[in-house]
């Protein structure tokens, strides 16, 4: 065989070997896995937020949204395979995971100077926790916040006399009770309520009790209760439960009665407010509910236009029951923590704290999202209701984080269940509160 021919044959065989082996494979792009509780419109908002990140950094974000994110995360942690980043249901969960060492500190991903200039000290405090060694670090960021001490109404459906009373500048608890009594006497239940939320069912009831306690006994008592030093069987807590029971358990006060309260999802609870003949007039929900309202329909379900903020729904602050509760506001926030320390995850964490990222979510009509970044201007909010909410949130004098969210997870879950138990067996309140005290002794 000639040398040239031999070379040609060798080249052919090598090319064939390479072809048959199929040894070349493209390099995979960096990916960040994120687990969150945002679904539907909230999920769309978050995806809009991270689209800019993916385009800018070329990092793919693999987001899984489920309303049972907390239970799923617990299962993932149990299996030793959590996502890179996950939404933590509560600051209590954040503290627990940080102390366990399952959460990774994110100080390296954040610029402390920038955070201090862009976020209020209260919010920064929520992002910190003690690690396994006891040293305090940033362990999470607040992706969006919510104002909880608000009552929603449809200004076009509310009878004019009641509307004037509701929107009076210094609405008192007594006036609110008088107003709801009038509405009930006229044949329509004043309140819309729904406590269903999958494995977290009951939390809308805890929001009621927390708001009543905060506005009845004041922030000091509220703080002791959250810290686990004030017993559930103490007078202020019992009074708050009873005040809640006077509304939730009294026939004619709530649309559909107790059975509907137990079975209606919190997101759909306000829907009868927008019916041609309203089923109820008032809805006590956090500011995030606007994301649900804008998906509802005016008039009959399934037909008609979507309710518009300002025109079809507005809010008033939750009134103080006593002077001690004057000016206090309850807030909540979605925390995002890191379980795997990767460069891509750190980049995403840093990006989500920027005003640009926050604006992408809050500027979406009907998103219900509020940013706590000071650099996000009020003009970025798409409607007057969102602007008012953001203004109230940033200007509130005495802010308290959602009590159940701040309690240890075992206490929080027991609180959720206790609300459902109370609705089912109102006569058992003292037994239920004693049970909560039993949990308190071991949960803190």
């Amino acid at each position: 065989m000639t040398r040239t021919a031999s070379h040609a044959l060798l080249a052919l065989v090598l090319a064939a070997a390479c072809l048959l082996c199929g040894c070349a494979s493209p390099a995979a792009a960096a990916t960040v896995t994120v687990l969150g509780s945002w679904t539907g419109e909230e999920e769309s908002g978050f995806l809009a937020m991270i689209r800019g990140f993916e385009e800018k950094y070329g990092i793919q974000v693999d987001y899984t949204g489920t309303r049972d994110a907390s239970a799923v995360l617990a299962s993932d942690l149990e299996n030793g395979n959590p996502p890179d980043l996950a939404v933590l249901a509560t600051p209590g969960e954040l503290r627990q995971e940080a102390a366990n060492g399952t959460l990774v500190p994110i100080d390296a991903a954040l610029s402390s100077a920038r955070l201090t200039s862009e976020y209020g000290p209260g919010w920064l405090h929520l992002m910190r926790a003690a690690g396994p060694s006891g040293a305090s670090h940033y362990y999470a960021i607040i992706v969006k916040a919510a104002l909880k001490s608000v009552i929603w109404y449809d200004p076009r459906k509310m009878p004019p006399r009641d509307l004037a009373l509701l929107t009076s500048p210094r609405l008192t608890w007594g006036q609110l009770k008088e107003l709801t009594a009038n509405l009930a006497a006229a044949g329509t239940a004043p309140w819309c309520m729904g406590f269903e939320d999958s494995s977290s069912s009951g939390w809308p009831g805890t929001d009621w009790i927390e708001d009543i306690l905060l506005h009845q006994s004041g922030p000091g008592v509220y703080d002791s209760w959250v810290a686990g030093t004030l017993p559930w069987t103490s007078a202020p807590v019992v009074r708050a439960w009873q005040a809640f029971g006077q509304i939730a358990l009294t026939p004619g006060q709530v649309y559909g009665g107790i059975r509907a309260e137990l079975l209606t999802n919190y997101g759909q609870a306000g829907q009868p407010m927008f019916a041609s003949k309203p089923g109820c007039y008032l809805d006590h929900e956090g500011s995030f509910i606007t994301g649900f309202y804008t998906q509802d329909r005016l008039g009959a379900p399934g037909s008609g236009a979507h309710p518009r903020p300002g025109t079809d729904f507005r809010f008033v602050p939750f009134p103080a029951l006593t002077a001690a509760g004057q000016g206090a506001e309850e807030v909540a926030g979605d925390l995002l923590g890191m379980f795997h320390d990767t460069a891509a995850a750190r980049e995403l964490i840093a990006y989500l704290t920027t005003p640009q990222a926050q604006e992408a979510w809050i500027s979406r009509p009907g998103s219900g999202a509020i940013s706590v970044n000071r650099l996000v201007p009020l003009s970025d909010y798409p409607d007057p209701v969102s602007r008012d909410l953001a203004q109230d949130l940033t200007r509130a004098a005495d802010v308290r984080f959602d009590a159940s969210d701040s309690m240890p997870q075992a206490m929080q879950n027991a609180f959720y269940s206790a609300v459902l138990e109370y609705l089912d067996s109102p006569g058992q309140l003292s037994v239920i509160l004693r049970g909560l005290d039993q949990v308190r002794k071991t949960a803190y």
């Binding site: 052919l12 049972d68 239970a71 799923v72 299962s75 395979n81 494995s199």
Partner: protein
């Protein structure tokens, strides 16, 4: 072997004495090159076909089957739990034996899916979510069971709504179209079904691809024919047995590949047109029925029939699909057959030339 018709040119002097061995070598190289090309082409085609068949049989189809089985089993678990609570059997048996069986089946299907997936892939990440959701669903059913028994114990002190409420929460957690357990499993089954359809329509099982094989096969046969003609012309060799056998091996390899491709194409077409739609239709019909029964039980309307899944029917449909894939995989013998026959063609071709080349080597 008989002697050449004429003396080797080298023995007689002049240009032909140098040309004939060179021509012999060139012919041999061409024949070997054609054989290598034939080998490569046949291997690429066979590997492509085998890869698709194996992927369908060992990964995509089992993954799809497990996903849809888990989906159906969970729907039925919800139905069974409602039936147990509505009938009052829950007082003694909780959500019931059928519920336990369905949960076990779904859990096993999810475990198999995890074993099929790649660690760290988005699918496995979704499977983790599904596992967590399943645990959450079971927790809510257990809570419903506990409340149901407690409501009975409390009697008039309780409104008796809480057991029902917890079962509703469980059902909602499963059926929430936005991120519920069934929606999550749907996210797995949908892409699996699409991947399966795509693989069953794979070009690797398309007979048109045989045209690619025809080129090196005909080249090899043409090389053998040219060598035979040359030997007859120069050496008075009527028939070279090794070359004849090489031609037979080339034909056998071509026929084997054609038959395997046609069989795979036919099996894929049958699976695509009949077995898969039938299997999918059967599962979907059963899921629809079970979902309707669960909804009726939830609304307190007893279903017309006892309900549940027909495992035997889906097993039969699944076996039909499996038979098609077994038929498509019948070409697995080609993995060893292609190199064996290609080497045989090359060796026989060389043997056809060797006596003549040896003659010249001896003369030189």
């Amino acid at each position: 072997m008989s002697a050449p018709r004429t003396a080797p040119s080298a023995a007689r002097g002049g240009r032909p004495r140098r040309t004939t061995p060179v021509q012999l070598r060139r012919l041999l190289i061409v024949l070997l090159a054609c054989t290598v090309l034939f080998w490569i082409t046949a291997t690429v085609l066979q590997r492509g076909m085998q890869s698709v068949t194996q992927s369908v049989r060992d990964t995509t189809f089992p993954a799809y089957l497990d996903a849809i089985q888990a989906r159906a089993a969970l729907s039925d678990a919800d139905r069974a739990a409602w039936q147990s609570f509505r009938s009052g059997a829950a007082q003694l048996t909780g959500p019931g034996q059928q519920y336990q069986n369905d949960i076990t089946n779904a859990g096993q299907a999810i475990e198999r899916l995890a074993a099929l997936g790649t660690p760290g892939s988005p699918e496995n990440s979704l499977l983790q979510t599904i596992s967590g959701q399943l645990v959450n669903y079971q927790g809510l059913v257990e809570q419903a069971d506990a409340e149901y028994r407690r409501d009975i114990a409390l009697g008039t002190a309780s409104r008796g709504d809480l057991g029902f409420a917890y079962l509703t929460y469980a059902s909602n957690a499963m059926r929430d179209p936005q991120g519920g357990l069934l929606a999550s499993i749907g996210q797995l089954a949908g892409p699996d079904q699409q991947a399966l359809r795509g693989q069953l329509a794979s070009p690797w099982a398309d007979p048109a691809l045989l045209l690619v094989l025809a080129v090196p096969a005909l080249c090899t046969l043409a090389g053998i024919a040219a060598a035979q003609a040359f030997l007859r012309r120069r050496f008075n060799r009527a028939v070279s047995v090794p070359l004849l056998l090489a031609a037979a091996a080339a034909c056998a390899l071509s026929v084997w590949l054609i038959a395997a491709t046609l069989r795979a194409d036919s099996a894929f077409a049958a699976a695509r047109a009949t077995a898969l739609p039938r299997l999918t239709g059967l599962w979907q019909a059963q899921i629809r029925t079970v979902d309707a029964e669960a909804a009726a039980l939830r609304a307190s309307v007893p279903p017309a029939s006892p309900g549940g899944l027909d495992a035997a029917a889906t097993q039969r449909a699944s076996s039909a699909f499996g038979a098609d894939m077994t038929s498509a995989a019948a070409a697995d013998g080609l993995t060893a057959g292609i190199p064996a026959l290609a080497v045989a063609i090359a060796v026989l071709g060389y043997l056809g030339f060797r006596p003549r080349l040896n003659e010249y080597r001896g003369l030189q």
